[in-house]
């Protein structure tokens, strides 16, 4: 690459991304460091789409950390591992992007390419990041976490409850969730978590925020089969990328 991807802050980005946080406090620190740097990315500075997402994600992770300290989760060990593993995938995507590697998932690349503009509105931008993170990263993070802890993803387990609590935090922290927009917002959240193909075809939309969990269970069953897993990864990336494009298009303006 002749032109550094991050312009004047390329070096700072590389330095931050050399860290691999391994606990939730360290994840918060890393997100804070990223926020400082992202706000200096020209030309949009504070209002670039990634800064919008990162800010939201930082708020969510701080919320998770507070709840961990307050003992709000049933299985904090699980949740901490999940949080670290989950964030690690966002940091990986940033790292690939920074290195100009083709390994950067399409859904993230879609958001990263929008950093120099044209201006996208903050809410759809943040939501596009959430889309990438939940619809693509989360199922894999869940599978890795369960694999590491030596337990299965079982409905109704302590881990499942804790997982659902994180969904609540997402809903709580997402900005612009004003009363008047609640319905439209709700519709988006639901469709976002649903399968895009289904949504397009107007078939049954799953009105649940449990899709990442379902996808994780699907992946869990095939996790030893690298070829099948890779296939599924590409499928999820495609679905999420399509949705991400939509979110960053003028269609999503109704959100503001």
């Amino acid at each position: 690459m002749t032109q550094p991807i991050w312009g004047p802050v390329q070096r700072q980005m590389s330095t931050i991304l050399q860290e691999h946080p391994d606990d939730v406090p360290a994840v918060v620190t890393q997100l804070q460091a990223l926020q400082d740097v992202l706000c200096q990315v020209p030309p949009l500075l504070n209002s670039n789409p990634l800064a919008d997402f990162n800010k939201l994600y930082l708020a969510i992770t701080e919320n998770v950390l507070d709840r961990l300290y307050a003992g709000k989760f049933k299985d904090p060990a699980f949740l901490s591992r999940l949080d670290v593993e989950f964030a690690g995938r966002y940091f990986d995507a940033l790292r690939y992007w920074t290195e100009g590697s083709p390994a950067c998932p399409g859904v993230w690349a879609g958001l990263f390419t929008r950093i120099p503009g044209p201006d996208a509105r903050p809410l759809p931008s943040a939501v596009a990041g959430v889309n990438a993170h939940i619809n693509f990263d989360l199922p894999f993070a869940l599978v890795t976490t369960f694999d590491h802890l030596g337990t299965d993803p079982i409905d109704g387990s302590d881990q499942h409850h804790d997982y659902l609590q994180v969904n609540d935090i997402f809903a709580e922290e997402i900005p612009g969730l004003r009363r008047g927009y609640l319905d439209r917002w709700q519709l988006l959240i639901d469709t976002m978590n649903g399968d895009l193909d289904d949504w397009w075809q107007g078939e049954m939309v799953e009105y649940t925020r449990n899709v990442a969990w379902r996808n994780a269970q699907k992946l869990w069953a095939i996790r030893h089969d690298l070829a099948q897993l890779d296939h599924e990864r590409r499928r999820l990336d495609r679905t999420a990328t399509g949705l991400g494009k939509l979110l960053l298009s003028p269609f999503a303006d109704f959100l503001q």
Binding site: D23, P25, Y69, P102, A103, H148, G150, D152, L226
Partner: protein, 936 residues
């Protein structure tokens, strides 16, 4: 996998190569090091491995090479056993237990290494089986006692998804002796250099640019494109696929066949096998092979043939017609079948499956499953059983048996949900096992997933099943009692255990008897009838002694030792029992795992009662058994606790690194003790920030039921803040607030906890309260006196001595009760010296110097003055008898014991207690004790 032979020049990797070599030499405290090389296919990982191996071989390194297979279902430990075979040391892979197997492999590695460092090079680690990954962690943790440096290559693509190595690497990354080296594509400049070197002479700038753009700097592609450039071939394509397909078309027909055959084989392909697969006359075959080599598709070495790069195999795979592929695999299978070695089962199974002849594949698959079970590779075995199921029709007679195996192996390797699914299919068949057996198995699998309620129901159904044999009934009842005990339903557990014991006495196996006795013993002890409980378990030990079966003996002794050192807090007796159990098993030469665990219990008990030298010897003996997995982690943690107490910093660090290495493979419940020890070590080093970070991380990784672990951690956290404060560093208010929240939660939890948990928690809660007084500059000796009293009562001199030190410090600062303070300080000093607790002794000396107190004089003769009966207002409402009862309650005695002590009936004790609760306005024994201890 990689190109070999006539490689192009190595460009742009000089620095990386030097780094890798220096990392491999730079071993950590455990004598091990590891470098994991990651990067996309074709980036040159294998080349780096080879170059490094060549550079280090012959010097002070012994080098072993292994490659993981991508057939998905390799046999357990394949790459390492292959590496050993290449070195002509076929290991005997028959062992009593998984630990023994690991030890056997380690011994072979040690023999090869001799007095050199061993370099184990593993390519394509992304395809490694679970057993191999565990062996690697075992070796890197230093448990195999092999001075080993591991160099492994991992495809970056594999790490994107959910690959287990992803988390393993994330955990290992923070160890100083482990490095992850990401190999990036070549820069534009380096690409130009490589192009020039291959083309020879001048290369037009635009040509080099084009190669760079098309290859993205991937050296493998750069080399191929440069050759095209050199040979004047017109490049029509940028994808690897098109480049290679064009090349394949140029091959002579026979060479074409050879290339396709090698691509379908499991590398390395033996010449004799290839001859049977390609079916050419010898001269023709040799000529064809020579052509394939000349066209740079195939390389040949002593072991056989392989493709220059796996990328080529992946391209070719898509070009072969399904029928062609099937025919090739069939010929492979037929060529391999006569040999039929253990390692060939996996290959045979692979080829027969691809050949589309499931019936022929089945025997190999079953053989591969059994041989994997023989190597304790339950995950691999489970996959073979699953393949076997895929190969059999629904109505096949062997299907029921296969389902049974598949379910059990899934359960063994932790895939409980799958195990349940297999069991469901089995249950739906006409030739299913009995109702009772199905319920029993379902219950066991459910219990393993944590679904206790459903598991309980299944056990009940098993017991009620009309076809339940007396033997199965005894087994089900014993398991049910055990489950209820874990759920804390002691009354129910007690009742079930009684039933089970009755059944087992007539019809059960010794295992059932032992399990039922343990459940009965523990439930009785928890229900405040410890003597009865003890008697039952002692009886179980006698029965096990008679049966002499290692599992029975091991279980019975473990239960007895755990009951004594745990709930009953009779540590010395528990230690004796544990040692006797270990000795009994050792004399019979069985139960290695149980011996290790018993010695660990003894070691931990000795640590608590302050006999550290003996604890050290005990743990050393346990380590001689070369434990693996969770057993190893527990022992390392126990030993590290001792090192921290002794102040042996390097040893402590080594064991902490080893624990972290093993935990990279999984094991959440040991994370908290590890972090606590890290904090404890950092505090002695005056590294307050590090201690704080370890504790704060711990606070986010607890489990809600880990009250005691959380108590220790919270104390470490508050102590770290207090030490920082005393040293003049700022206290972290956020950290302090969180610690206070946790202490509040602990207090709540203590009120609802079982008696013995409550007693331990009380000790830590008092330490927490005392540290808090230090942070708040209260210089209050009282909380420390209470903490010392509690730890004295629990017979744990280490925390007691620490409390005395702080008590003396506060009292001396206040200039009050100097004599008591000095006596306490001297007693603490004598204790710490006797234990060998150097850092604590130094701390005591520091305080003594500061307040000009002599420690040496009559240190042994002056005992700590007993707490003076300084009655507070609160206790004055009680009668003399009530106070006596309360005092006994505060000592942790049961009503029966109090009755015996005061010569009154158990019932009268209850009546007194009721009055005491009313007068003191408390609801629990703990609260009453607290009032008493505060006032006393």
């Amino acid at each position: 996998m990689a190109s070999q032979g006539d490689d192009g020049p190595l460009v742009g990797r000089t620095g990386t190569l030097a780094d890798i070599q220096s990392y491999l030499r730079n071993v950590g405290p455990g004598g091990t090091a590891a470098v994991f090389v990651t990067g996309e296919s074709g980036v040159g990982k294998s080349r780096l491995l080879r170059e490094t191996a060549d550079a280090l071989r012959g010097g002070d390194f012994a080098v072993l090479l292994g490659t993981c297979l991508d057939i998905g279902d390799a046999s357990p430990l394949h790459p390492v056993l292959q590496a050993l075979r290449r070195h002509d040391s076929a290991t005997t892979t028959v062992a009593d237990d998984p630990g023994a197997l690991l030890e056997r492999v380690s011994r072979d590695l040690r023999a090869i290494a001799g007095d050199r460092q061993l370099l184990l090079v593993l390519d394509d680690l992304q395809w490694a089986d679970r057993s191999t990954r565990q062996l690697l962690l075992y070796l890197l943790a230093g448990l195999g006692d092999v001075r080993i440096s591991v160099l492994a290559a991992i495809r970056a693509e594999a790490l994107h998804g959910t690959h287990p190595l992803r988390r393993v690497l994330a955990e290992l990354r923070r160890l100083r002796s482990v490095r992850v080296v990401d190999i990036a594509p070549l820069t534009e400049e380096h690409t130009r250099e490589l192009v020039t070197a291959i083309v020879g002479g001048d290369v037009a700038g635009e040509d080099a640019d084009r190669v760079y753009k098309r290859s993205g700097g991937n050296p493998f592609v750069v080399e191929e494109l440069s050759r095209d450039l050199r040979d004047g071939r017109v490049e029509l394509s940028d994808t690897l696929r098109e480049i290679f397909l064009a090349r394949v078309d140029e091959l002579p027909a026979n060479a074409h066949a050879v290339v396709h055959a090698v691509a379908a084989g499991v590398e390395p392909v033996d010449h004799a096998v290839l001859a049977k697969v390609v079916r050419l006359p010898e001269d023709g075959l040799l000529e064809a092979i020579r052509a394939a080599v000349a066209y740079r598709f195939v390389v040949s070495d002593a072991e056989g043939y392989r493709l220059r790069h796996r990328l080529v195999a992946e391209v070719l795979e898509q070009e072969v017609l399904p029928a062609e592929g099937a025919a090739l695999h069939r010929r492979y299978a037929e060529a391999l079948e006569p040999a039929g070695g253990a390692d060939d089962h996996a290959r045979l199974a692979h080829h027969w499956q691809r050949a589309g002849v499931p019936a022929r594949a089945l025997p190999s698959v079953v053989a591969a499953a059994r041989s994997a079970e023989g190597l304790y590779g339950f995950a691999e075995a489970h996959r073979y059983w699953t393949i076997a199921l895929r190969l059999t029709a629904d109505d096949a007679t062997e299907r029921a048996e296969l389902l049974g195996h598949a379910a059990e192996s899934a359960h063994q390797c932790g895939e409980h949900v799958l195990a349940l699914a297999r069991l469901e299919e089995l249950a739906g068949r006409k030739d299913a096992p009995s109702e009772c057996e199905l319920h029993l198995r379902r219950a066991r699998y459910l219990a393993a997933t944590g679904r206790s309620e459903t598991a309980e129901r299944e056990y009940e159904l098993a017991l009620q099943a009309p076809d339940c044999t007396p033997q199965l009934r005894a087994t089900a009842a014993a398991f049910l009692a055990e489950l209820l005990l874990h759920l804390g339903r002691y009354a129910d557990a007690n009742q079930r255990a009684r039933d089970a014991l009755e059944l087992a006495a007539v019809n059960g196996s010794t295992a059932d008897l032992v399990r039922a006795s343990a459940a009965l013993g523990f439930s009785a002890a928890f229900r405040e009838d410890p003597d009865a409980g003890l008697a039952v378990i002692r009886h179980a030990v006698e029965i096990a002694e008679r049966s002499g079966h290692p599992d029975d003996l091991g279980c019975a002794y473990l239960h007895l030792a755990e009951l004594l050192t745990g709930p009953l807090n009779s540590i010395e007796e528990g230690v004796l029992v544990a040692r006797r159990g270990a000795a009994t098993l050792a004399a019979r030469g069985v139960g290695r795992t149980y011996q290790t665990r018993l010695l660990a219990i003894a070691g931990n008990g000795l640590f608590r009662i302050g006999q550290w030298a003996e604890a050290d010897a005990m743990l050393e003996a346990a380590m001689q058994h070369r434990p693996s997995g969770a057993d190893a982690v527990e022992l390392l943690l126990a030993r590290c606790r001792l090192w921290v107490g002794f102040g042996e910093v390097d040893n402590a660090r080594r064991d902490l690194d080893a624990v972290a290495t093993l935990l990279a493979g999984g094991g959440a419940r040991h994370v908290l003790p590890m972090l606590t020890l890290r904090a404890g070590l950092a505090m002695w080093q005056k590294e307050h920030a590090e201690a704080r970070a370890a504790v704060q991380r711990g606070l986010t990784e607890t489990r809600s039921d880990d009250l005691v672990l959380l108590g220790v951690l919270a104390w470490h956290g508050l102590r770290a803040e207090a030490e920082a404060h005393v040293a003049g560093s700022p206290v972290d208010p956020a950290a302090l607030r969180r610690l206070n929240t946790v202490v509040g939660r602990l207090q709540e939890g203590a009120d609802n906890a079982a008696t013995e948990v409550r007693a331990v928690l009380d000790g830590y809660l008092n330490l927490c309260a005392a540290e808090l007084s230090r942070i708040e500059d209260r210089q209050d000796p009282e909380p420390w006196a209470r903490a010392a009293a509690i730890w004295d009562r629990r017979q744990q001199p280490y925390p007691a001595a620490y409390s005395r030190l702080r008590h003396a410090e506060a009292a001396l600062q206040r200039r009050g009760r100097r004599a008591t303070a000095i006596a306490g300080l001297r007693q603490a000093y004598a204790t710490t010296i006797a234990m060998g607790a150097r850092p604590l002794a130094n701390e005591i000396k520091g305080i003594a110097q500061r307040f000009r107190v002599s420690l040496a004089d009559d240190a042994d003769t002056v005992a700590m003055a007993p707490p003076e009966p300084d009655q507070g207002d609160e206790l004055s409402v009680l009668t003399g008898r009530e106070r006596e009862v309360l005092e006994a309650v505060a000592e942790g005695l049961t009503n029966r014991e109090i009755g015996e002590q005061l010569f009154i009936s158990e019932r009268t004790v209850g009546v007194h207690l009721g009055h005491i609760f009313d007068k003191l306005q408390v609801r629990t024994r703990v609260q009453a004790s607290r009032v008493f201890l505060t006032a006393a």
